[in-house]
Symmetry: C4
Subunit: 233 residues, 4 copies
């Protein structure tokens, strides 16, 4: 099955989910309206910006991920559907955070609960991204990848140091650690700082930490033994 | 008329409908927020997951169905529109179920009514899927299918046994029976169990029970007499 | 400018607008839920069905209309945008009709006002469809149509009789007359019957009353002098 | 990276954002409904029309802008994401303006605040459009533009006079000046006139003030030294 219609459907879901974030802002300023009141809604704007960047960057990474293959099979469609189920859910914790961020700052207070849920949703999404990557790599040939299984594994950007095994840890794994850290901060310390961590992670992912499909294809072209599919695109 | 723009429009409708399911979750946690309150909203999450998987799998099957043809005509567009009218309606019974599932469990109580409506909508959608398949088969040649009418009929996965006519019953028909069963359970016994049946049906459909366009095309290529359209794709 | 991205954008707008119609149904059954209450919401379902079919068929006709050309220019984009502004507005009169249809039946009562507005929006949309067709015909060559200006005019299905000039009246013009009639019925007689007229018009447009791009192209191929663009598609 | 999937995603976001504007109209006429009440909601219609045209024209210009390149890189995707974040926000100031336009007309009253916010959002969006254009020009070669950096700069329509440097000021810059003027009018004089200015700017942008990708490509073809990419499309 060609991967294009699956990508078009996913693009649509991402596009709708990112646009629905505006519903968090719409209730602001109904009733009396003043600069002071608009300014007091800053948690709404912060949550909008963080979630918008997060979904947007998830879309970019989705794009990069599926750029490695030309075909898609039933299990991959199902994994993709579970991933989208997480992405579509993002407006929910976004609304929770936006509403409860400025409430009482105690542990288990609304803001803390909201920021914990936000991080948990992100962790679930990260797990599905990892599952999709793992599936893509293991079925590289069947899915029409231009690189072999090993070439794909080697293309994952790592930290490079310390030398040895640690150099192989994928850079994108930092996201999972970061969100876990954010959940702990939210649960035991401060919802505001947790949101700052989530925002910093969005900025971190602005930079590309995924293997580049073009580079993998070029490597395969240089070393023909590595070439899986001989046909032209 | 080329089927691509119709598929793009359908993809868009599926993508928006699946994403609108999040509106069921957004009212949760406005007001006071605690883990207990979030946990108490489990029917909302269950309804979200079941309906998300259901719409997602319907999209996959739509994809597979229209993969059998290259053209689309006016009656097929109308059938497709009626199908989409059912798919777009799904957030409505989803909201009913989510709100009333934990209410009083009597027959004709809210939860029972909601789960009955949910199943009826699914049955209506199933009927339109069957109508589209029937139309595709009967107009296989005119719609540019790679297989003949008979080849398409033969490609429908059946149960295989008991031998004889029963082996020909299409596997996907189980869905219609399942939803009818769910409606009966909802009407006379338990809304919760009915939702469990609907969820199980979504999982059942995760596996492919539709004829595979690629297999039909390959069969046609092996047996050229069966080849309807001689052109390359 | 290639017409494809404009069609993709229009498809997206149609897909979102048609799906947003579900918001009319979502408030039903919040609170107490019974079959009686669900049945009492029949104007909501009727309005949903009529508007869904209407938007869906408008999408089909949009598809057919732009199938006549390969290019699109700035004025056509602007006309298309004005058309879409009408299409996107449809959920508004739909909600008005759904809420007020069963109210008091006097002239200028809510139901009457709602059904008048519904028809007026349809008339405005019809006018833009006619403007786009007129523009397409007048700029057939520049927009890469396969038929000449005259061939396009000739391809418009008319009533055929009475013979003479009346035979040339385009069949689709009946829509405009029908909606005007519906508005009069709504204003002076009955909102319910007006909605029935609007529904009948949707069914009328289920059948194709637009010139067929493929037929025009084939006619042009038979008579090469009529061929505007000699290139292959 | 091919620019097509990024355009498809952007198209989706534009399509959803423009369609969500209808939510401003939906609350009208719930409760009692009369022509007088519908007429009294004119600021809602005015805000709908102005914002619909504005987003629609922004989509056209997005289309034109990205028509200059065939590839897209990570920084451009990020700039595009920030632009979309502004576009998606438009329904928010639209709702503010629609609700508060007919309120008390004092400085710092609701209408004034709303119209200021509207203009500020437009200014932010304009800045991102300028940033994207600047980025496209500076990386013309790497992004597969058909014209060189200088050819792109020369293609920007200016006012032409007064002669000299002023002739080089891009015509589209008038938008930025116009929105700034609108903000001043809103802040110190009248929200209604500010909205009129915003509407006039939408009409101004109906006419094309961006360099035409086709013209740039043709100029490059006439003067082969200017040709950046020799490949066929």
């Amino acid at each position: 099955m060609d991967s294009r219609r699956a990508e078009a459907f996913s693009d649509g879901v991402f596009a709708v989910a990112i646009t629905l974030l505006i519903f968090n802002l719409l209730p602001i300023g109904s009733g009396k309206l003043s600069y002071r009141e608009l300014g007091g809604a800053w948690p709404q704007y912060a949550a909008y910006v963080v979630s918008f960047l997060t979904i947007g960057i998830m879309w970019m990474n989705h794009h990069t991920l599926f750029g490695h293959v030309r075909l898609i099979d039933r299990p991959l469609l199902v994994l993709n559907l579970l991933l989208l189920m997480g992405v579509v859910a993002i407006p929910f914790p976004t609304a929770l955070v936006a509403e409860h961020l400025t409430g009482p700052s105690k542990v288990k207070a609304g803001g803390s609960v909201a920021a914990v849920i936000y991080g948990v949703v992100m962790i679930v999404i990260s797990i599905f991204y990892n599952a999709i990557w793992e599936y893509l790599v293991r079925h590289a040939e069947a899915l029409g990848s231009r690189g072999t299984r090993q070439a794909l594994r080697d293309a994952v950007p790592g930290f490079g140091r310390p030398p040895g095994l640690a150099a192989k840890i994928p850079r994108w794994g930092l996201g999972l650690v970061g969100y876990a850290l954010g959940v702990l901060i939210a649960a035991f310390w401060s919802a505001g700082w947790a949101l700052a961590v989530y925002g910093a992670l969005a900025v971190y992912y602005l930079f590309n930490h995924l293997p580049d499909p073009v580079a993998v294809a070029e490597a395969a072209a240089r070393d023909p033994e590595d070439l899986t599919s001989a046909g032209t695109d």
